[in-house]
């Protein structure tokens, strides 16, 4: 019995996973690239024997794969009346670093692939780490948050379906809400996330999204810099553009802070158990580590909270994970308000397990994922 990885072979995720297999005394996995799969070069049954074990890795950070996924989603996006780019145009795009490219269409393409994998996988009786349908679920934030809420876990109040800025304004008034988080429904890694504040006299939008206009077309880019938009026209353009791609809109809750800044927590749950926690801290509402943020002092936080409240936090992560029983591993983002009492589940990430050690040489998650999977499936050494 061998392990296959569906992923981008050049990506550190795959390389570090192979290292982790080796460390566990297991043979290297075979890798089927997204590019080969999406271009139709291989079907699963060409390469993979029945009952094999499979790991689906993140398809991100490969431009060709992004193009192919957009191509796969073109027909569905057009049928939906979502912003869309034709298959031909998608395949002839030039790389444009950071550009937010048709996220809804991308999601539809990714779902189409996941459906195909699910069908082919069933025919082959494959053992998935995280199953294709579970991954698809996790890439739909509004639906995923609703599932988490249904588990009884506290989540920030959702403002429901919002299609444009005008609707957002109205919804904020109805909910008596001055501050909201607007996130792309199908994004990850803080892509397309805006913290919007309606002050008594005007709006301000804090985001890592860069708004660029060229040839009468509005383009959005993810940048590493956080900025604050104060011009209403720009804010409207930004919000309208995001809403057109589908957004999750929820009440922006204040985060607890230390003198080093505000923070939230990423909890890794593997096979239903909370295994790792990272405190992500910085000076802005976007706490993702790649945005100039740092790891906070987790030990100090645990001391401050005490064992009981810490356990409640871990329990909330595990309970939320039960909403996705077929996801082998989940990266759950948890917010604590000042006072460190009630934890709120912000988000569940299908590929939120890429948590590196301080030297960035090892991924700390993989050992848990492998060990529990090995135990479950008796992978032969």
């Amino acid at each position: 019995m061998s392990l296959w990885i569906i992923g981008n072979p050049e990506h550190r995720r795959v390389q570090l996973f192979q290292n982790a297999l080796q460390q566990a005394g297991l043979p290297a996995a075979q890798v089927l690239s997204y590019q080969d799969l999406l271009s139709g070069r291989y079907e699963l049954q060409d390469l993979i024997s029945p009952k094999s074990c499979l790991r689906i890795e993140s398809p991100g950070e490969n431009f060709r794969v992004e193009q192919l996924l957009l191509a796969w989603g073109a027909a569905a996006a057009e049928a939906e009346n979502a912003p869309f780019i034709s298959r031909a145009a998608a395949l002839s795009l030039s790389p444009d670093r950071g550009r937010i490219l048709y996220p809804r269409q991308w999601y539809l393409g990714f779902c189409a692939l996941l459906q195909q994998l699910h069908a082919q996988g069933s025919a082959l009786d494959l053992r998935w780490m995280s199953t294709p349908p579970s991954i698809a679920e996790l890439f739909d934030k509004p639906a995923a948050q609703a599932k988490i809420a249904a588990q009884g876990v506290a989540v920030p109040e959702s403002l429901g379906l919002v299609r444009n800025f005008a609707e957002l304004e109205q919804r904020m008034r109805e909910h008596n809400c001055q501050r909201v988080f607007v996130k792309l429904a199908h994004g990850s890694s803080a892509s397309g996330v805006v913290a919007l504040h309606r002050g008594s006299q005007h709006f301000s939008a804090t985001t890592s999204v860069e708004l660029a206009r060229s040839a009468g077309q509005t383009r959005l880019y993810n940048s590493l810099k956080i900025r604050c938009y104060q011009d209403l026209a720009e804010i409207k353009t930004l919000i309208d553009a995001l809403c057109a791609e589908g957004v999750q809109v929820e009440r922006w809750l204040p985060k607890a802070r230390t003198t080093a800044g505000e923070f939230d927590l990423r909890v890794l749950v593997v096979a239903g158990k909370a295994r790792l926690q990272v405190m992500r801290q910085g000076r802005s509402p976007m706490t993702n580590l790649h945005l100039g943020n740092q790891r906070g002092d987790l030990h100090a936080l645990q001391q401050r909270m005490g064992a009981e409240r810490w356990q409640i936090l871990l329990n909330s992560a595990e309970t939320a994970a039960r909403a996705f029983p077929q996801a082998w591993h989940l990266g759950l983002d948890i917010l604590l308000k000042p006072g460190l009492r009630q934890p709120y589940l912000l988000e569940a990430n299908a590929f939120g397990d890429f948590l590196l050690d301080s030297e960035r040489r090892r991924c700390l998650s993989y050992q848990f994922e492998i060990k529990d999977f090995f135990t479950k499936n008796f992978l032969k050494k």
Binding site: N176, C177, Q178, R179, G199, S200, Q201, H202, S204, T206, C228, Q230, L253, P254, A256, R257, T259, G261, E262, R283, K337, P338, G339, R341, Q342
Partner: protein, 309 residues
């Protein structure tokens, strides 16, 4: 830096937490703080105990902390507190100093503190002399006319231009101390330095002796404007602390040497070089140069002001 600690002193007295059990037992020597904590009684209950205390008419100064549970602090202004104070104003004949919003970052971040229209306070307490507030979001001073107010301070991470404008239109003949924490554009300072012109012009507050334009993101430019402004003539204390003041602003401030009335320049928390600090220290009055900061990089934007979040 964020606001980590509660006030220890206010209006010349040490501040103590008001406890329903012990009441206003030390009202002569202590200033009490009324607040709602995570696990304690609600603010309404605390206030009721306070206002019904037999010694309440002795209260000369008061600090209001959290007016709602920290769990719900965001988006809840102090309207009820203002209303309660106004209604009980005849029980507080000696109230001269009030702090509205002694809130630390653990309770609610300064930029999240939600204020309200506090103008009823000015009408209900004509003998009030000192008012300090924290939090700028939704803050309004109304049409401000008050004979006895001599100390007004608005603390914030980003001051909305509305209260600034209201101050510029205010009638405060006895104002001696004006302190504004301008803050960061990022956190709500939507004004610009032009908004301060009426104050800098000097006609507004003839008795002003302390001017604090603190926590300013454009401290260099502000310093350059100030030295050319008539207001400097009448000041005894100029406070530009907590901001991002660098050598450009420092060089401008050296020109303050000729101002006879000035006895104190507060520049605590700054980005001045050692050389500039030496020059400023040689000025013929007291200069506070504590808390020299290191910028993250070479750009002006790499300097952070002290209080914003």
């Amino acid at each position: 830096m964020t606001i980590e600690y509660h006030l220890e002193h206010f209006a010349g007295k040490p501040v103590e937490l008001f406890d329903i059990e012990t009441g206003l037992s030390n009202v002569e020597s202590v200033c009490y703080r009324l607040t709602e904590d995570y696990d304690g009684p609600g603010f309404d209950k605390v206030f009721q105990a306070f206002i019904n205390d037999p010694k309440v008419s002795e209260v000369s100064s008061l600090v209001i902390g959290m007016w709602v549970s920290p769990e719900n602090a965001y988006e809840n202004g102090p309207e009820k507190v203002i209303a309660a104070l106004v209604e009980a104003s005849d029980k507080l004949p000696k109230l001269r100093a009030l702090f509205l919003g002694d809130i630390t970052y653990e309770e609610n971040e300064i930029s999240w503190i939600y204020q309200c229209d506090i103008s009823p306070l000015f009408t209900a307490f004509p003998k009030l002399e000192m008012l300090r507030t924290r939090g700028s979001d939704n803050l309004s001073l109304g049409h401000l006319e008050h004979v006895n107010l001599h100390h007004l301070a608005l603390e914030s991470g980003g001051l909305d231009e509305k209260p600034i404008r209201q101050i510029c239109q205010a009638v405060l003949p006895n104002l001696q101390h004006l302190e504004l924490w301008l803050g960061s554009e990022y956190y709500g300072w939507n004004g610009n330095l032009d908004d301060l012109e009426p104050i800098l012009h000097g006609d507004l507050f003839p008795k002003l002796r302390y001017l604090g334009l603190r926590d300013c993101e454009k401290a260099d430019e502000l310093a350059q404007r100030l030295i050319k402004s008539p207001i400097i003539e009448q000041l005894e204390v100029l406070d530009l602390s907590l901001g991002n003041l660098g050598d450009k602003g420092g060089a401008a401030l050296l020109q303050l040497a000729s101002h006879k009335r000035l006895r104190q320049l507060n520049l605590e928390y700054h980005y001045l070089s050692n050389e500039m600090m030496e020059k400023l220290a040689a000025l013929p009055f007291e200069v506070n140069l504590d808390e020299q900061q290191e910028p993250d990089g070479d750009e002006p934007e790499d300097r952070y002001i002290a209080v914003s979040e």
